[in-house]
Amino acid sequence: MRKLLLLTTVVLVGLVFIARLFYLQVYDNSAYNIFEDIAIKKEYNYPKRGYVYDRNGELLVANQPSYDVMVIPREVAPLDSLEIDEFCRLLKITREDYDKKLKRATSYSPRLPSPFVPQLSKRDYAVLQEKMRKYEGFYIQKRSLRSYQTTIGANVLGDIGEANRATIAKKPYYRLGDLIGNQGVEKTYEEVLRGVKGIKFIQKDRFNKNIGPYKDGIYDTLPVPGKDITITIDSELQAYGELLMKHKRGGIVALDPSSGEILAMVTGPSYNPNDLVGRNRSKNYTKLHYDTIAKPLFDRGLLAQYPPGSPFKVMNALIGLQENVIDVNDTYTCRLGYYYGSRKLTGCHHHSNPTDMNHGISQSCNGYFVHVYRKIIDKYSDAGEGMNVWAKHARSFGLGDFLHNDLSVGRKGRIPDGDYYDRAYGDNRWGSTYIVSNAIGQGEVETTPIQLANMTAAIANRGFYYTPHIIKKIQDDTIPKAYTTPKYTTIDKQHFEPVIQGMFDVYNKGTAQSLKVPGIDICGKTGTAENFIKIDSVKTQLTDHSIFVAFAPKDNPKIALAIFVENGYWGSRFAGKMASLMIEKYIKGTITRTDLEDWILTHSLEDEYKKPYSGEPFEINRGAKLQVIDNYATELPDTSGGLKL
């Protein structure tokens, strides 16, 4: 027994040691990661971010240098109060800021660099650079910021900002302080524009002194510069759209139907992209972000999801023809609405009768389209099946789903089908008369302006579309094939001509007669969308949204667009005028309908937008008074006045 005491103790200690080693090295040790090794300093070399050009080769976004003061809290040498005050003066911060920033940096990591004061001006940098050596633990890091060569297109171009911790956790490429595209093409083409940063691994000793490249630099990489991109935007058209949208809220999406390229993507209100560069970025961003009433960061062209109203009637005409339930020449007599027995399902306005398809479209007759719509649904023995067929056709125009394009935001919209109403009313407990609002785009159907623009492009093309996209060219690369492959609708080509003729007659003898542009054959359709908000939790109706879709010329169309103006009342009142102007601007380059232009520039909806928040009772639609302004802008927004390098 006595012989065994030491022997067993030795064996036991050996086992405990091996267990401890196993715990430390194998169990508790996620594989060795050089990036977490404090003995290896990582020095990053940021490449030039790619430039952004418009479709005509005009430079929109370039770069400018910026200087950040960084801190490694562990290495900050103690400073006396006077020294700190002097440092604060140089940095233009208060003593409280200094303490707060240092504390925040320490809580992030005492040994990793954190941004201390970002984006110094060139002048501050020049002064500070001389004195930096006095402040151990602080250093200046040069970075490249965006320099916008224009004041337009903030929603298109987007911005870059520091990657937040959630992003860093998901994408290990980024480190605290790295810049990342935040909205617009900066976000969707982040990896193209960004390039790849280079890295140098440097062996440090425990006093944090560099003692040479780690493993002679075999892991070091050179930066790969970002690629320049050309976007599909026509900056002149974009600028004109933004001018027209002044004093209004809404969105314009204009496409080239022959390619799906987005010519203009306007949202109002917007902001100057230069506001989100430099030291005031975070202040300005916060201001934009918290403006929950005007929502300048909300891209209405992509996100404003509403029932489309009358433009959707042409969809029902197309489906009716494809399903062979009507003939172009079939007529319907509208008695100021559609009657089911003695019950009036929907109203209509005064117009001549009888109504055939052409007349129905140009006069925007509700009764005619309810008639067509019911015929489509009731063609099938089961209303659910009828709805599914109807929905399949509508969805083939890119409605009711994301467009799967290269824009940073978007919404699905809604095209209801049989299941949708089975859920709403109960299985088979509904019929075509329940859902006639879909006939005139007022029911459960919802679309965004870009979806409407795309639908219009598909009509302009007589049955196919290219996914609307923003990228035109990537330096040394090609654009995704998905954007250059046509997508066909389920409507046969021959059915489009009569419908297009109807849209053409909207201008000739219909609801947009006053909006004709000499020399251009425009096809279009007006629309309105009812809308409601909650004021003190009471559902309140506001003035209708003004909606318009159009394309031109009728043959070989060059532009298709959808315009949406919040609370603009009827379609031709705001949106229609703007559509004519945008089309004329794009096709002719000059404006002959200066009367329309004057009207749009002198009429503001800002009073209209204030009404719900005034606390006073207000009238809508017919009862609302139009606001005329005199100090309006007539100049195009500056397309070249941004920060110069």
């Binding site: 030491l6 194998v26 050089i34 062996q203 425990r206």
Partner: protein, 426 residues
Amino acid sequence: MLRENQRHFKFDWITIILFLLLVGFGYLNILSASHIGEITSYFDTSQLYGKHMMFIGLTLILIILILSLEAKFYEKFASIIYLVAMLALVGLFIFGKEVNGARSWYGIGSMTIQPSEFAKFATALAVARFMSDLQTNMQTLKDQIRVAAIIFIPALLILLQNDAGSTIVYLAFFFVFYREGLQQIYLAIALSLIALAVIGLKFGVLITAAIAAIIIFSVYFLRRKKRGSILQYITVLALCVSFSYGVRLFYNHVLKPHQQNRISLWLRLENDPVKLQRMKKEEAYNLIQSEHAISSGGLSGKGFLQGTRTTGKFVPEQHTDYIFSTVGEEWGFLGSSGVVLLFVLLIIRILYLAESQKSQFSRVYGYSVASILFIHFTINIGMVMGLIPTVGIPLPFFSYGGSGLWGFTILLFIFVKLDSNKINEW
């Protein structure tokens, strides 16, 4: 005559190979932990690894010398060797040189020599000599006190020179005494004292007293027949409580702040996060760096000379007391558990050989060698991995330093010589 010669060279090659493996592998790690910049020559004596190479060279000469002396020499001269070693320790008070607060070095020119490293084998010889004396009876208190004095003298001298780590090594002899017949009660007492000290520090005297009372009175009530007087039990309890209280007093008033901190960190006594943070900063820097270096090694390590923390000299004293963290970083779990295995095998081999000795002198000496190596191994590696409080003692054969390497080599090879001679004992 031939046969005689064969016997003469019948050294235990297993021990020798284990020794060579440890020294060789130790050298590689010292090289890694101490090189600065390019390695131009392995014999560059301006570098620590070059010096260590020289120490290893001298060690080989030393081994030949030890093995060529008559085995009887060590037994005969044990007392004199012990006496010389003790004088060397005493001499430190007059001629000693202070390094890192410990006055445990002689400076000879540019060389320094640490006599405490040599006092270990000297004490082991003296203990073996005394215990193998036919007159000695370990069962008697008188001889127990005498043998205790043999180890107490060097331990005290070293403690007075402020080298607490090396003092603890002398606890190794407990294993020797126990093997040679020290009563069971001593083992029980030793274990009880350790328990009392730890529980007393961690949970306070009251809880310790309560636990001790429960155990002692349970024994009293269970031993119905031979239970004896209850007064005896109360006395034992009182002793327990006073010991536990004494440990606290010792901890609070005798230990230096850095020693307190080490124990506090180990037993997790500090609850105030601010103080804890400060304590860690002051006291645990080495330990944290060493643990990080070890765990960053992973399963198979970063490779020889590739340890980033080793290259960056993140672990202070890495080539001496913290050499095992280099093994951990560069050779990973496989390499470091290999080293643990080598030590365990070496100690078991020595134990096995010790048990097979015919003379009591050889057996006791062998047992002492195993115990001393074991204590060093346990304390050093346990400390480097954060299992026990920081105590500065080297890892035998591995750590940088001439005195240490020579001290352990002499310790081991005297036993190799004694073992080779066991047949001649008849």
